[in-house]
């Protein structure tokens, strides 16, 4: 794996560190971070992103709005999106997947679960 870039969008520094720690186990995957949806859109506009992992509940712009914005943007519409959230209800999962998320992981996470999903979506 080389030259791939993952964007982690999470307002909790504690959770963000855990996800980044997990992803850094994947050789060749560069990990960039954003604090909320708006911050993520700026990062998307400024460089290549191959996969996006986002929380739902965030200030300024939440994860579902971010998914909607990314899917309606012709440049980034095909980026695989993984939702990582505390929202465990079936309707939350269905809503996120209906908006275009590719996978839905509920917290608390196991790092291996996140890396396995990233490998699967990036076909590594």
């Amino acid at each position: 794996m080389s030259g791939l870039r993952a964007l982690v969008v999470e307002d909790s520094p504690t959770m963000r560190q855990l996800i980044v720690l997990a992803l850094r186990k994947l050789p060749g995957l560069e990990v960039v971070e954003a604090n909320d949806g708006v911050d993520a859109l700026k990062t998307l506009a400024s460089g290549k992103v191959d996969i996006l992992l986002t929380d739902i509940n965030m200030p300024i712009m939440d994860g579902l709005k971010l998914v909607k914005r990314v899917r309606s943007d012709s440049v980034h519409a095909a980026i695989p999106i993984v939702i990582i959230t505390t929202e465990g209800a079936d309707e939350d999962r269905s809503r996120a997947l209906a908006l275009g998320a590719n996978a839905y992981i509920t917290k608390p996470i196991q790092p291996a679960q996140v890396t396995a999903k990233v490998r699967e979506l990036l076909k590594l």
């Binding site: 520094p13 504690t14 509920t106 608390p108 996470i109 196991q110 291996a112």
Partner: protein, 226 residues
């Protein structure tokens, strides 16, 4: 497995509300069983070189928790980080951090999540499950809390906080998220970390603020280490 508990009483097909309730009960039971299965799949003694996902997850949680707890000297941030640990790493849904008031000889909730703060009492030391746990200095875990739901007098976990050999507060979790309704074995390691590290982190933040220190300088340090 208790088959009666899994199947439940028969439901009349013509009663939609009962059917809906039955569907919700079975969904909750499925989540419980998935959790139990995930735990059962973790090998007791993984062979050398074999990754143990639960153990790896526990180590990663402990690393990030201790890193973040001690990465700030701002009291609000210490409390916020602790809530993030409770929510994101332990899957807490309703929780609070209590600090002991010597003046009132009780535990005062300083931050609450998932509940109206007015709903959370100030337990006296030695009274109720929280006060008793703190007086004795022993963490209390209730394995049946998920079945019972929210009961303010019976938390799922009450972990006394230690500072210089004294109990100065507690971390209390009443309920966990539906996808992770029970305390797992590895959660106790994280609770132990909070028991030992949260109070010193809070104390450091308070002392830092009171001392008006802006940075670390050798001149301040040399008297203390020589």
């Amino acid at each position: 497995m208790d088959r009666r508990r899994t199947l439940g009483p028969p439901v009349k097909p013509e009663d939609p509300s009962a059917l809906q309730a039955e569907v919700e009960r079975l969904q909750a039971r499925c989540i419980e069983l998935e959790q139990a299965l995930a735990q059962a799949k973790v090998p007791a003694t993984p062979s050398v070189g074999e990754a143990d996902p639960a153990f790896e997850a526990s180590l990663a949680n402990l690393y990030c928790a201790s890193y973040q707890l001690h990465a700030t000297l701002d009291t609000r941030e210490v409390l916020q980080v602790t809530l993030e640990i409770l929510l994101n790493f332990l899957g807490a849904k309703t929780a609070a951090i209590f600090v002991r008031s010597r003046e009132e000889d009780c535990l005062v909730p300083v931050t609450v999540t998932g509940l109206d703060p007015d709903y959370v009492q100030r337990p006296a030391m030695g009274q109720g499950r929280i006060g008793e746990s703190c007086k004795r200095g022993h963490a209390v875990y209730d394995e049946h809390a998920a079945e019972r739901g929210l009961d303010i007098d019976r938390p799922a976990a009450c972990v006394p906080l230690r500072f210089e050999g004294e109990i100065v507060g507690a971390v209390v979790v009443w309920t966990f998220l539906r996808q992770k309704p029970n305390i797992l074995d590895y959660d106790r390691e994280l609770f132990d970390l909070l028991a030992a590290h949260l109070a010193p982190a809070l104390a450091a933040s308070v002392l830092f603020k009171r001392a008006g220190v802006k940075t670390l300088d050798y001149a301040d340090l040399k008297e203390l280490v020589s």
